[in-house]
Symmetry: C2
């Protein structure tokens, strides 16, 4: 089966390369496939517990014979490994950074072999195209989902699994590790713990520190929203109705903290709900403004894929993000990152700020910042990539 | 009884004036008292319902014979009418703007007669020194608390009650209406609806618009946090355990959205909990960081006074804040405000921004802005008044 998939994959890639060679302006999405990397036993750092772990991954472009053209892309908080291309030509949407990754694009898959993997404990646990091991996974020892008995993990655990995946592909060095938001945090983790494997880092809308406010919003407050829902039941809800009201509030906290006053004002203003039969908010608590409808719509459209416990675990992993080991200072921790590090910062981003980036620049041996102001906040790293595409391209082209 | 209180009050004021005259540098807090204003029937604008309403108020300084030295101060979201002075000399804390209001202070009570009232639906419904009518008030028609049957009110309703209070004191014109945050919103409401009664407006950390993001955070998300708590029980929890977990989350959303990354970083960093026996957050979901403890401590210390339903109603009133009547534009609404309007803006405030203030300046006939950057966010309007005290003084001195 694996061999068959490999053959199909090679065929697909070939046809795409032909397409690209035929006319680069077409920018057809590549056809891609999800693969699975499995470990019989993985030991989590802080609990010391060992459990079997599986993660999904995708690759774009072709690994050369020397295996020295690899780039690792890490996904964001609610993201997954489908970063570019389509599974089938008829798919309506391509991967989340498809604008940047592909033949002739910013990260040119005619030159680079790009890997993107699902994290452990991925939020999209119920998405059939995501492969992850997390709280909704069946614990082989009990035959029931782990729930809150799943080991607490950190982003260091997440990249430790990724490293084993990268090594399983015969790759000993990555030219670049990059990613937006939590993907940037993972990139910093890679550079801190496996500097010999990392040629360069690009963190898009991420700095090397989760400060206390970012720890709280959206992470800790999101956890508390889910736990407040009586259906959460201490994480034991599998086979029953999940705590989707709590999850919805957690996502609203996430969405509002990753957008801006400007964004909401331009898009919704103070318009009332446009849903047929909507009640007047001046007369009823069930009445709504357009902004409420639209923010809820963004969340609800994806919620079927989300596991609330996975949200709790991955938010926890974000609160625990810290490059320092033992009693290191930030200066000592960042001194390990001797490779070129580019931080792309949006001045309207409330989570990862220029103030944080400037602090990191003091300590990074070879750090640089590219900053601009989209006015649309943190989530702009996914939807407004044109702001930084040229800067990213010039960085990648020089690798 | 009322006469007795009046005599005591006059005696107290006299002694304070003597103190002040004796040595202005002493800056002893005035002794003040809470009074009550009651209406047998007040009609709410949007529901048309009429119910009896009571609000508490305090006054500082002395109303002159012409009754033309009055200033109205409006309180913030979680505030109340105890804005200055102490009830008893031994009180540990004075009113919330005591630094600004008193004999010889920025708003000099030797010249001005300052009124501050509790809003209807005040959050501090369980504070014995607050007088308010809200969801926890007994409905005389049923003998039970209104709960969610309390009429939805707006900040326009709130100032309509205040106006009747002001008129009951024989005052036909206020030299100034001012207040921080929601107090600024009320000041704009006053100026919009009773321009003939308002000589000038100072809004401290408030602009004349609640934009959609401010509607969501902290207001609508706070409402949803309280409603998520199963103890909320559709607002019917009086005599039982109140939904304090939901209220706590609502307040955490409020506190984090009114502070900044800088504030939390300087005060807490990524320090772990300092509570004895605290668990390690890397090993337990019950483990905590210092920022979590400290933010919770700020809330828990005051929560005994808060009624969760009142939070729901006053947050709703904030979402509904809109100076426009019928199909007016902002330009038309703000054209009513012909008096001098000073907006004091902290550039680190995420709720009321310079962008919003600049938009309002386009339309205000006599608007001005004083701006600075405390880096500490919206709540700095209460705790760091030194930033704007001089500017406020020069504005008030010219009235």
């Amino acid at each position: 089966m694996r061999k068959l998939l490999l053959i199909i994959s090679v065929l697909l890639m070939t046809s795409i390369n032909l397409l690209a060679a035929g006319g680069k302006t077409v920018q057809e999405s590549m056809l891609v496939e999800k693969k699975t990397f499995a470990l019989e036993s993985f030991q989590f750092e802080h609990s010391g517990r060992k459990i079997p772990v599986k993660i999904g991954y995708e690759t774009y472009g072709r690994l050369n014979e020397k295996k020295d053209n690899a780039i690792l892309l890490c996904h964001y908080f609610t993201g997954q490994s489908h970063a570019a291309g389509k599974y089938r030509p008829e798919d309506t949407a391509a991967g989340w950074w498809d604008k940047l990754i592909g033949p002739g694009k910013v990260i040119d898959t005619e030159r680079w072999f790009v890997i993107c993997s699902d994290t452990i404990g991925n939020i999209n646990a119920n998405n059939p195209s995501v492969v992850t091991t997390g709280p909704s996974t069946i614990n082989p020892e009990t035959g029931r989902p782990y729930g809150m008995d799943f080991p607490i993990f950190t982003l260091k655990d997440a990249i430790r699994v990724q490293r084993l995946l990268v090594q399983s592909l015969g790759i000993s060095r990555l030219n670049l590790v990059l990613g937006p938001s939590m993907g940037g945090l993972q990139s910093f983790m890679w550079a801190r713990h496996y500097p010999e494997m990392v040629g360069a880092v690009v963190s898009v809308f991420a700095t090397p520190v989760i400060r206390p406010m970012g720890l709280m919003v959206p992470n800790q407050l999101g956890i508390e929203a889910i736990r407040l829902d009586p259906k959460w039941n201490n994480g034991d809800y599998y086979g029953k109705e999940p705590p989707n009201d709590g999850l919805l509030l957690a996502f609203k906290i996430l969405l509002t903290s990753t957008r801006t006053d400007h964004w909401a004002n331009v898009n919704f203003g103070r318009k009332l709900s446009e849903v047929a039969g909507a009640l007047d908010p001046f007369k009823s608590f069930a009445g709504r403004f357009l902004v409420e409808d639209e923010i809820e719509k963004i969340v609800v459209g994806r919620m079927q894929f989300f596991d609330p416990n996975a949200y709790v675990y991955i938010a926890k992993a974000n609160t625990l993000f810290d490059l320092r080991e033992d009693s290191e200072t930030y200066q000592q921790a960042l001194a390990h990152l001797k490779m070129p590090v580019l931080m792309i910062i949006d001045e309207s981003d409330l989570l990862f700020t220029m103030d944080q980036a400037n602090e990191a620049l003091q300590y990074l041996p070879d750090g640089q910042v590219f900053n601009y102001d989209s006015k649309n906040g943190h989530l702009s790293c996914l939807f407004e990539t044109d702001y930084f595409a040229d800067r990213l391209k010039s960085f990648v082209d020089k690798l």
